[in-house]
Amino acid sequence: MTSELPPGLALQKVDERIMTLNVGPQHPGSGHMRIVVQIDGDYIVACDPDPGYVHRGEEKMAEYRNYILNIPHLERPVIHDSCNVLYPYVLGVEEIVGIEVPERAKYVRVIASELNRCIYTMYWLAIYGIFLGHSTMFMWPAGDRELLIDLMEKMTGARVTHAHFVPGGVRNDLPPNFEDVCLRQVNYFEKRIKEYAAVFYDNPILISRTRDTGVLSRQDAIRLGTTGSVLRASGVDYDLRIKEPYDVYDELDVHTNVMMEGDSYARSRVPWLDMIESCNIIRQALQKMPKSGSVRTKLKPNPKGKGLDSVYKRVESGRGSLGCYIVSDGKTEPYRLKMSVGSFRNLIALPYLLKGEKLGNMPSVYWSLNYWPVEADR
């Protein structure tokens, strides 16, 4: 009987040794979710993640707004990664309404989405630092993130929720002299994040705490359907920027960072290596970008789909594959919109990883899954 029910609903034998801990939603180590943890001494015997505290009905809301009005609210699930979370929607709408994107706009989009990936990963890294009790690693990424936020502010006019991508290109052109400023900031940023190795990634205490904890094998990673850095940390070379290149990623030289260990340390190191790779991509894109030209193909005021149509687009976000399925029935609003986010797919691995771990490993394993509660709930 227990095998048919999901872990949270299954009846369990009451054991006097087992203590049930509600980690969250009011807990410094949980985020906007609850993890019901059962511990026997210092060992976790069962774990039941309980998301859904910040469900906002983004998908349903999208059915009542037209294709343009959907842009600002669809980036709310991950405001730090707002360009990437909007990317598949914009790509899908472009296919539905049938519109071409100028070459320059594609490069601007790549630059914006890579900058956003770094901004998100820095925020994630800051919280990973404080989850391990490393307060310097909380403050440094939170401060260095400002460099890129300033760049995004120059580019889009907003510090976090940019609403920069629109069907047909990007909302406005780059400011004058942006290329030089961007190159300088990104070079400094790369130099700065490489310094993190000394204080964080090569720290013996960090390595001894996260090595061989929460090991996700290659087979399990594929079987559980994890994506993004979690999948790449388990030895699967899978990155949508290479496997299914969108916009101009096929013209750029993109490398992926794969680690074979599959433990917490690998899962925390891969996003950091990805940030360095993002800096390379931004430099290439700045070099190859057409120096002038339009960045936006104007749409009709209220774009419509061409009859019954559906499209599924996905991009590589900071948390892995992020897909957007849009069904159009020829009206100005989407008939149905479904987002498939990397966060929720990575969360599935949590009960498997935490079983048998020590309680002290819970924050490091949980946050190494690159999980963003608000995105998972949508």
Partner: protein, 432 residues
Amino acid sequence: MSVIAPKFKLSEFIKSLLDNIFWILLIAVLIAIPAIQIVLFAIEMPVINGELLTPFLALTWIADPTRTLPIIKAFMATDIFRVMAFPGFGFAALLAAGTIFIERKMLAKLQLRVGPFYCGKIEGILQLMGDGLKLISKEIIIPAKADKPIFWAAPVMFVGAAAAFVALIPVAPGWVVADVDLGLLGVFAVIGFFPIITILSAWSANSKFPFIGGIRALFQMVSFEIPLILSLLGVVILTGTLNLSEIAASQSSFPWIVFLPVGAIVFFITMLAELERIPFDLPEAESEIVAGWLTELSGMMYGLVQLGTYLKLYAFAALFVVLFLGGWNGPMIVPPFPAEIITDGIELGPVTANIPGLPVFTQEMLNGTLWFVLKTVGVIFFILLPRGVFPRIRIDMLLSLGWTKLIGLAFVNIFIALGLLYAGVLGPGGLQ
């Protein structure tokens, strides 16, 4: 970049200084003067020129320094002064407050932040006072199912134990609250109280996270007491005494860290664990168990525990200084007291006052205190530094570190001490 820092203006700086002076004067008038009046009744009054001074004439002394100084000197001979002010609570609390300020500013600089900035207007110097006032004014919430008497008593007991620890520390030659012959044994006894108080507080809260935190604190403190005690045996073997003042005095030519570096390192690491400092702050690991055994403490109960924690921090740093860094010993850098003041008196404008009782503090005492404070602040700096560099360790790694490596190193230290003793290089009393 300096968005936070406003432009420096001399007039505003002076105004802020005057502001602070105003508040200090106000507090002095409201609290300090009544306290002094109460204390005066406990002093054995000296006789000057055949006249017995009484506390009722206190205001007349302020105008006459020839009467004030003998009273101050008589006050300094009392136990109240020792317990409340100089080697005791006041001195330790001042150093502890300085520690908190240094910790916050230093950590902020390390993390590219500013730290406390506005409170007190000069680099946030009054931030601690503001925090204290906030904690005092907050409501104390007791969990409904808590064991209330024990839960109330635990923070007070914690401060009491920390203060008992402070009382055993000799600051300058002859300046110690409790100069007992078994001082080091007393230190071990006081350290043994902390895990008991912690588990009492944690268990009586009747809540899950404090319980786990308390169990962790118990594991940590009990298992690190053994290497702590063993690491200090080397010093005891070489000095042949348990009296802390005698141990400090025995290091007049060289500190014991020269011969016992292993013991010093082991003691420093166990000290970090006993103090629950990062990387050993598992009992308060906030991402796992909220605030550990402090979770249910609120308002001034939490404030008392913090006070006790920082007193304990000072006491451990001071113990390290006394045992390994030579205590008050150091080159004489304080200038001698000018003898002509005693013989000729001080010229106060038109009159020349011949003040009995000078000097108030001897040169040795001032010099010893200065060296002691300098060394203690240095040790405290090294205790605070790991917080900016290391993440938190895990409980199983901590216990294996304590039970295998540190105990082994402590025994190595004991063998070094025994070897030095039997080789005839060193012995009780110093170099032979």
